[in-house]
């Protein structure tokens, strides 16, 4: 059995004899563990809950939280809440799309970056807010974002040179 399938199995074992109301928590656990929802995992969940995969996709695609592609090495989220919008997060996003050459929800082909927007992180007092690998950056700006992206890239180039 593949590593990821084993992990999914272990998660499912925590929900014995569960009904449909366990579906979302199970998907959340799987995404926490694997970073996204691979097709094979959806099939396993379907078998466990006796639900057709189409139903599961129906639920999973309804919610913004679920991802169907693996995250990049550097995962950037940009808040698109109102407070952040008023402080220029729209520009931040356009800037990120142009520099990283990926759209929200995508992972770059070299798997170095993935980009996501969220509706509000609840840190509106410090807008605009972005996170890089779950670390908050308050009062972000296009220049700051560019710097962060450059840092990530440099780090990776360095690693490659070293190895």
């Amino acid at each position: 059995m593949k590593e990821s399938a084993k992990k999914v199995k272990a998660i499912l074992a925590k929900y014995p004899d569960s009904g449909r109301d366990a579906l979302i928590p199970i998907l959340q656990d799987i995404q926490d563990e694997l970073g996204y929802l691979p097709t094979s995992a959806i099939m396993q969940v379907g078998a466990h809950l006796a639900l057709p995969s189409s139903k599961i996709y129906g639920v999973a695609t309804f919610y913004n939280q679920f991802r169907f592609q693996p995250k990049g090495r550097n995962h950037i989220t940009i808040c698109r809440g109102t407070a952040c919008h008023v402080k220029g997060s729209g520009k931040l996003l356009e800037n990120a799309v142009a520099t990283l050459k990926i759209k929200p929800g995508q992972t770059s082909r070299d798997k170095l970056f993935s980009l996501e927007t969220v509706a509000c992180m609840g840190a509106c007092g410090l807008a605009p807010v972005i996170t890089v690998n779950d670390e908050f950056n308050a009062k972000a700006s296009p220049a700051k974002l560019n710097r962060l992206a450059r840092c990530c890239k440099d780090e990776i180039t360095q690693e490659r040179e070293n190895s």
Binding site: P25, N64, K87, G88, A119, C120, C124, G125, L126, A138
Partner: protein, 604 residues
């Protein structure tokens, strides 16, 4: 000897500005100086003054230090804790008088508030039930279970409490409906989905005082005859989920949750459900569908959840802040509560004050205070002394209240009259640099992508409105677009299935109502008066000011700027993505926003 307390704000705001690093450094420094026995570092929930974070408060005098960085810690420990000399440079500086203030109670931001629900937030350790109980926690529940159920409902009715989740439905009445519904099994559900993007009151209450919410739910459970409760929390709030889980565990250990609470025969259990990121799940019927593992689609009411909710059973659903008001009403008596606020809106309301305002953060004021008081007296006025243009209240369902109505009292009815609504409590201040058409477009984009798609007026209507607003922002609007927007907006409001569609046109309609001239400028003159709409501006380098330092060249992510050192730089508009990074880094103000280059050529 009791340890001296050092309170570190660990709300989401302060954490994002680096509170954990400050804590780490503080612990290290205390250890280094052998002071760990004398001082305790307590991480609290949100203290509310997010703009000034990370915040540190040192007891017993409650000296407040602002914007504390790890590098400042050493000085605070040496000077304040050991030398007993305050570090004045880290005090809050009053923007008007320039005075440094040590005592947070004397800072206008706090002094002009009235904190009932936020009483404990940022003061107690939210992970310690003992601290909650010390401050009167669970007294309200104790009192409730000694009363008759009907009397509890009556007290909540008399208090005048109305739902804080948006619509302002009288809470006592809702409880009464659920109480009267005939069923063995009933549920209590706490709506902690906080979908309004730009609001964080519920998050702060959950993170800062989770037991207050539990206590409110318990009282509700007792009153309506429910023995099980769910808290539906947004996925984006991991810290709130963690604190809630700890609170539930502690309440179970201490017997406030579980079977036969206070030997009254009343039993209650609570579980946490994490949302998965869908705005419409804040709507009550959609939320219940989501708890049951389905797509979060609203369903027509009636039946109301009070008669048929979770798994078809009577379900009483309230907002976080609504529940957090309940302990006060029981503990202090409804008379005291009803004395606060206005005739039709009792008690206080928490607002998340954000946007272009000096003091951003959490504000709790009695109902009936004016917008002016919140923005100017508490919020310290508009940032950089710019012009106050409007305040957006109520998020995607709400509207913009313009400068001319700044003396509108904040209560349910006055806000509706002004075309907005209380909503959950997001309050975003906008100045003359914010384009109102763009703001309307932003909200439409939001509701359009969050529309669940079940009913056509909302699904199709919001998309059509969005397309029209986009056109206007791009300088391609047509003369009759404004009237068209009003017409379509009114129909969407009348014919949509749930509250999302019924309120979705509001941001567009109120901005048209109060800022029609801005729409007209976009349509007739093809200009954006605020200089915000990308298609209608270009970044321009002012030759007279540019010294050729190269900073903008370095900042530009797409290499659109070129020029030798010490010569005037130029922008290649074919490459420029208008991100504004050049303007941000230029120290000489040599980059400005101007009319688009193409338009200028046409004119020439």
């Amino acid at each position: 000897m009791a340890k001296r307390r050092i309170l570190l704000c660990a709300g989401s705001g302060c954490v994002s500005s680096g509170a954990w690093k400050v804590k780490e450094e503080l612990l290290r420094k205390l250890d280094e100086r052998g002071l760990t026995e004398k001082f305790e570092v307590v991480a609290s929930g949100c203290h509310g003054f997010c703009e000034q974070g990370p915040l540190l408060i040192i007891y017993p005098k409650e000296t407040l230090y602002c914007r504390v960085e790890p590098d400042d810690v050493s000085e605070i420990v040496e000077e304040h804790l050991i030398g007993d000399r305050v570090v004045e440079r880290l005090f809050y500086k009053d923007p008007e008088t320039g005075e440094r203030i040590a005592d947070h109670a004397k800072i206008n931001f706090y002094a002009k508030q009235e904190r009932i629900v936020l009483k404990n937030c940022g003061v107690i350790d939210p992970e310690s039930i003992a601290e909650y109980v010390d401050r009167g926690g669970y007294d309200g529940l104790r009192k409730a279970v000694s009363m008759d159920r009907v009397a509890v409902i009556e007290a909540v009715k008399q208090s005048g409490l109305r739902g804080r989740g948006g619509a302002g439905f009288p809470t006592g009445l809702k409880w009464d409906f659920t109480y009267k519904a005939d069923s063995e099994k009933k549920y209590i559900v706490c709506n902690a989905d906080e979908g309004d993007p730009g609001a964080f009151m519920d998050r702060s209450v959950l993170e800062g005082d989770p037991h207050a919410v539990l206590e409110g739910m318990l009282v509700a459970g007792y009153a309506v005859g429910a023995d099980e409760g769910y808290i539906y929390v947004r996925a984006e709030y991991p810290l709130a989920v963690k604190r809630l889980r700890i609170a539930i565990e502690q309440a179970e250990e201490q017997g406030y949750l579980g079977s036969d609470i206070f030997d009254s025969g009343f039993s209650f259990h609570v579980s946490v459900k994490e949302g998965a990121g869908a705005f419409v799940c804040g709507e009550e019927t959609a939320l219940l569908a989501s708890i049951m593992g389905k797509r979060g689609m609203p369903s027509p009411r009636p039946p109301f959840p009070a008669t048929s909710g979770l798994w078809g059973k009577p379900t009483c659903l309230n907002n976080v802040e609504t529940f957090a008001n309940v302990p006060f009403i029981l503990r202090e008596g409804w008379e005291k509560y009803a004395a606060i606020g206005t005739e039709g809106s009792k008690g206080t309301k928490i607002f998340a004050l954000t946007g272009k305002v000096n003091n951003t953060g959490l504000v709790e004021v009695p109902m009936g205070n004016t917008i002016r008081k919140v923005v100017y007296e508490i919020g310290g006025g508009v940032k950089d002394d710019r012009e106050f243009k409007a305040v957006q209240i109520g998020g995607p369902s709400g509207g913009c209240i313009p400068n001319s109505l700044i003396d509108t009292p904040i209560d349910y009815d006055s806000l509706v009259e002004a075309g907005a609504m209380m909503g959950s409590g997001g309050m975003v201040v906008v100045d003359d640099e914010t384009c109102m058409v763009d703001l309307a477009r932003y909200f439409l984009e939001f509701v359009q992508s969050e529309s669940c798609g079940k009913c056509p007026p909302c699904r199709v209507g919001t998309r059509k409105m969005l397309e029209c607003l986009k056109r206007i922002c791009d300088g391609e609007g047509e003369a009759d677009d404004i009237d068209w927007l009003i017409n379509v907006g009114e129909s969407i409001k009348s014919y949509s299935l749930c509250g999302l569609g019924q309120t979705a046109p509001n941001p567009a309609l109120t901005t048209i109502r109060y800022f029609r001239d801005e729409y007209e400028a976009h349509i007739k003159d093809r200009t954006c008066p605020a200089g915000a709409c990308q298609a209608l501006i270009d970044y321009v380098i002012v030759a007279e000011k540019c010294k050729g330092c190269g900073l903008c060249i370095k900042a530009c992510p797409v290499e659109a700027i070129s020029g030798e050192k010490k010569t005037v730089h130029t922008i290649d508009y074919d490459l420029c993505i208008k991100c504004g990074a050049c303007m941000e880094v230029c120290k000489l103000d040599a980059v400005i926003r101007g009319k688009p280059a193409a338009q200028k050529e046409e004119a020439a």
